[in-house]
């Protein structure tokens, strides 16, 4: 088996995550799609790190995890505060700037 298979798997997961962001209306599930994309990028980083024999890829994946954790905290706080004021987590209902 080739190392590249991990990269192909990462690409498939990234595509599914992007499709989730485009297709789902629930803001929480959209958020999980973003998480899936970040994780697949991590998998690609780790696979490339192994292909090149360089640990920098793993360090960058570590940074991605940290930034993703911060992003999750802020994003979920936004979702909760929107739910408090609008009683909905559907991204269709957040249209205050429309018209």
């Amino acid at each position: 088996m080739d190392y590249a298979n991990y990269v192909y798997l990462a690409v498939i997961l990234f595509t599914i995550g992007a499709a989730t962001v485009l297709l789902r209306r629930n803001a929480i599930i959209v958020f999980m799609g973003i998480e899936l994309m970040l994780n697949s990028a991590n998998l690609a980083f780790v696979a490339f790190s192994r292909i090149n024999g360089d640990l920098t890829g793993q360090v960058v994946a570590f940074f991605v995890m940290t930034v993703a954790a911060a992003e999750v905290v802020v994003g979920l706080a936004i979702i909760v505060s929107i739910y408090r004021s609008r009683r909905s987590v559907s991204v269709d209902d957040i249209n205050l700037l429309k018209n």
Binding site: G17, L22, N26, M32, I51
Partner: protein, 291 residues
């Protein structure tokens, strides 16, 4: 090239991961999508460990599965588990455009990967034994400034989450002192309500207590029982009247028809007859009086 065992692991795990990730698109409920996501995260940790990155595998389980996905579950619990997707298209054909863009992205990236040679690879067989120490060497050697920036970012994110979810009170906070002051000012009862039945002839929830004058204390019966009409009279209950056979006249200044049987005589005229007669004969005595 990898070992045969790793190939078996990959081909067992990768299809399951793709299926679970597809569950993110097709699951109706947000909780099911979250569980699918947790499976993907744990499988990714296994993939990292198989990819000679054991430190990242552990961090993946601790940070993502342990913290991030549990945070997702908490938020789903906060906003309501059954908050499903709306099925109405606000944008016409948005679903098909979304599918088209998603599949198009996959085609583009795959065609790009096809032009890149990824064969072979060095691997880090010599550093995998002390992988965390080697990562720390790179992290604290080449990436010190980004590491400090990430620290600032985490503090900022924590403060942002606190301010974002903070709610300011619209009115003045009502504490214990304010509650006590309003109660005294309104002249309401300050002490606890008397307990029912304990000082009456029987110890039951639905029988009112008697005060020192022998009068029932109405407030001693639960408000719910009074509203339902399920309370019993302390005096005119037939079981209790058996205890009255000592000849002591029942104090009849208190008259309530709720809950008492048909044997309860009327208020004023019963004073002379009900004292000597049994309670079962109350009707006959009233008949005699009419005669």
């Amino acid at each position: 090239m990898t070992s045969g065992a790793e190939a078996v692991l990959f081909w067992c795990l990768a299809p399951l991961m793709v299926l679970a990730a597809l569950g993110l698109i097709f699951a109706r409920k947000a909780v099911h999508a979250t569980i699918c996501m947790v499976f993907v995260m744990i499988s990714l940790a296994v993939m990292y460990i198989a990819n000679q990155a054991p430190f990242l595998g552990i961090v993946q389980i601790v940070v993502y599965t342990g913290a991030v996905m549990m945070l997702f579950l908490f938020v789903i619990m906060l906003v309501g588990v059954d908050a499903g997707d709306s099925l109405v298209d606000t944008l016409k054909g948005q679903r098909w455009i979304g599918w088209l863009l998603g599949i198009g992205l996959g085609v583009v990236v795959f065609s790009f990967l096809g032009r890149v040679s990824l064969a072979g690879g060095k691997g880090h067989a010599e550093t995998v034994a002390n992988n965390p120490a080697e990562i720390a060497r790179v992290l604290l050697g080449n990436f010190v400034f980004p590491l400090e920036l990430v620290g600032v970012l985490l503090v900022t994110a924590a403060i942002a989450a606190l301010t974002m979810t903070h709610r300011r009170n619209l009115t003045k906070r009502i504490g214990q002192k304010e509650l006590a002051d309003t109660r005294v000012a309104s002249g309401a009862r300050l002490t606890p309500l008397p307990s029912p039945g304990v000082f009456a002839q029987r110890n039951a929830m639905d029988v009112p207590a008697l005060d020192p004058h022998g009068q029932p204390v109405e407030a001693s019966v639960s408000r719910v029982l009074r509203a339902r009409g399920q309370e019993r009279d302390a005096i005119y209950d037939p079981d209790i009247e058996l205890l009255d056979e000592a000849g002591r006249p029942a104090p009849s200044t208190w008259d309530r028809s709720v809950g008492s049987g048909a044997s309860a005589p009327a208020n004023g005229e019963s004073e002379s007859t009900a004292v000597t007669e049994d309670s079962g004969n109350a009707e006959s005595t009233s008949n005699e009086k009419e005669d």
